[in-house]
């Protein structure tokens, strides 16, 4: 039930965003549709579908059992780690940033023994750097702090 309401809210939010954008563009006419024509109708359709889903949800009233949501903190943590990684990537460079990210994943998200964790982090960061940057010549950022 709460899950369905969440889906409805998400649908309406996206529709509102689209409506705001579409109404700022020339809609045109059916004879000569403008740039806002398509997004406008899509937004209307999305509102209609969201309301339909709301109707379903209110009628079904089934209490959906939440499945293991206990590790939600880990998900948020990993997303935060990925965001930090993205922000720091060009500055600290690919090898170090990736090493730290993988270390976070194997020590915090899916905890492993230290030795194994360090080995995996080294392998993932070093191995991928060798494979992509050295062998395949992909210009991965080396880190701007070094220059």
């Amino acid at each position: 039930m709460t899950r369905e309401i969440g889906a409805v809210v998400l649908g309406l939010a996206v529709a509102a965003l689209a409506l705001r954008e579409a109404l700022g563009l020339p809609i045109g006419t059916v004879r000569n549709p403008g740039e806002g024509f398509f997004p406008l109708w899509l937004a209307v359709l999305l509102v209609a579908l969201s309301l339909l889903l709301l109707g379903h949800a209110l009628r079904a009233r089934a209490a959906a059992g939440a499945r293991g949501d206990t590790r939600i903190g880990q998900v948020i943590g990993l997303v935060a780690a990925l965001a930090v990684y993205t922000a720091m990537l060009e500055w600290i460079g690919y090898p170090i940033a990736t090493f730290l990210l993988v270390l976070y994943m194997v020590k915090v998200t899916h905890p492993q023994r230290w030795l194994l964790a360090l080995a995996v982090s080294l392998l993932a960061a070093g191995g991928s750097y060798l494979l992509f940057a050295v062998w395949l010549k992909v210009p991965l950022p080396p880190g701007s702090w070094r220059s």
Binding site: L49, T98, A125
Partner: protein, 505 residues
Amino acid sequence: MEILSLLGSGFAIALTPANLFYCFVGSLVGTAIGVLPGLGPPATIALLLPVTYGIPATSAVILLAGIFYGAMYGGSTTSILLNIPGEAASVVTCLDGYQMARQGRAGAALAVAAVGSFIAGTIGVVGLMLLAPPLASFALKFGAPENAALLILGLLMVGYLGGASMTKGLMMAVVGLLLGSVGLDPIQGTPRFTYGIFKLSEGFDFVLVAMGLFGIGEVLDNVEQTEEPEVITTKIGGLLATREEWKAAAAPMSRGSLLGFIIGVLPGGGAIISSFLSYALEKRFSRHPERFGKGAIEGVAAPEAANNGAASSSFIPLLTLGIPGNASIALIFAALLIHGIRPGPLLVAQQPQLFWGLIASMYIGNVMLLVLNLPLIRVWVRLLQVPYGLLAPFIIVFVLVGAYTVNNSAFDVGVAVAFGLVGYVLRKLHFEPAPLVLAMILGPQLEASVRRALIFSRGDVFIFFERPIAAVLMTLAVLMLLSPLARWALSRKFWEIVGPVRTEK
């Protein structure tokens, strides 16, 4: 006999050492990710897309196609041995496959699954080869109204067949269309939804969206599942099924192949639905339906054949109409676009080396997969002993490098991460990401077709119902919209036949 010479030229392309190598790598990787639960074909294809930038288009498609149909082979292994479907398309295989394993007939079940997959895959390629060229030349007659009608019908089918809830499937399709409209509009070139961010004026890069939704999204979703799958090293037993077992499996295999082929052609149909349907069908028409769920070999043969038949035939709408029917095929569509090839009715005529090379490689790939799957089964089971926690970092690293290489920019990595979060939230709310990516890739085409048709007809919306081909397609679309009631009735019955299924990954 023209077809034989064309096929011959296809084999000449597919048998070059480089292409044989890509076909082999595709089959190998496909089997591996088919075996591993928690990593699906769309995610893998998204991960490997950047690798294909530097190789010729034909090789790229051979590689990616191999991953897609290879996963159908590998998926059965874990279903049978561990009662955990490696792929969604192998969920029903658990029902009887695992029971067979518990009765010490795992080897027979694996052999039947592999041979059934091989037969269906090969039949599917024959069908693809025979049907695609005439369908493509028919589709050449399509103008803007027909194109629009076809795309609308296709998107409706994806929403309709793609998941548990049609409303949610359609919501995803609409959101996908909106995402597809980010950037310059296809007719006037006015920026939309760019919020002054210059990088958005080219729209969201489909590859980044797919990598985020499927790659990072799946990893985030799996973070919550703490339990590692229990690896039971059951005795696999003799790999050879008895003569009676082959006899019992032969007819279900051929029915499954045929059904899979037909369902696979439909957008949104594909491997998952065809495997469920063929299982239900076998149970329905069996003289001993009570044996199903207790280790009936028919219950392994039919769905495993069906998902492979569907995997082959889902290339038909891509190569003839330019409509990808599922997420994996959409990614192959994207790979072709990156190489400057627009899949559509002109592809068979303009890129014969690609079309026939792909067909020939699929014949070869199916043989390779049979060889990879039968004797190497023990190796694949070993793969399951790698804990997910050690696998996840490598998936993430591949996504991040891949995202960076699209334009060599950290901004793109951020886009992929953001869509990873979106993918996670969508999964939590029980939305299927597949209709979203399909709609996103088809959106600009749909908008341009609708607007052109309307300009051409001077605003007469009946243009979509007046020209015969468009009228037929639109009528089908309307019928489909009006049919949720029938579907509800059907699905109730359908689930009664199939019985309870473990659906978690």
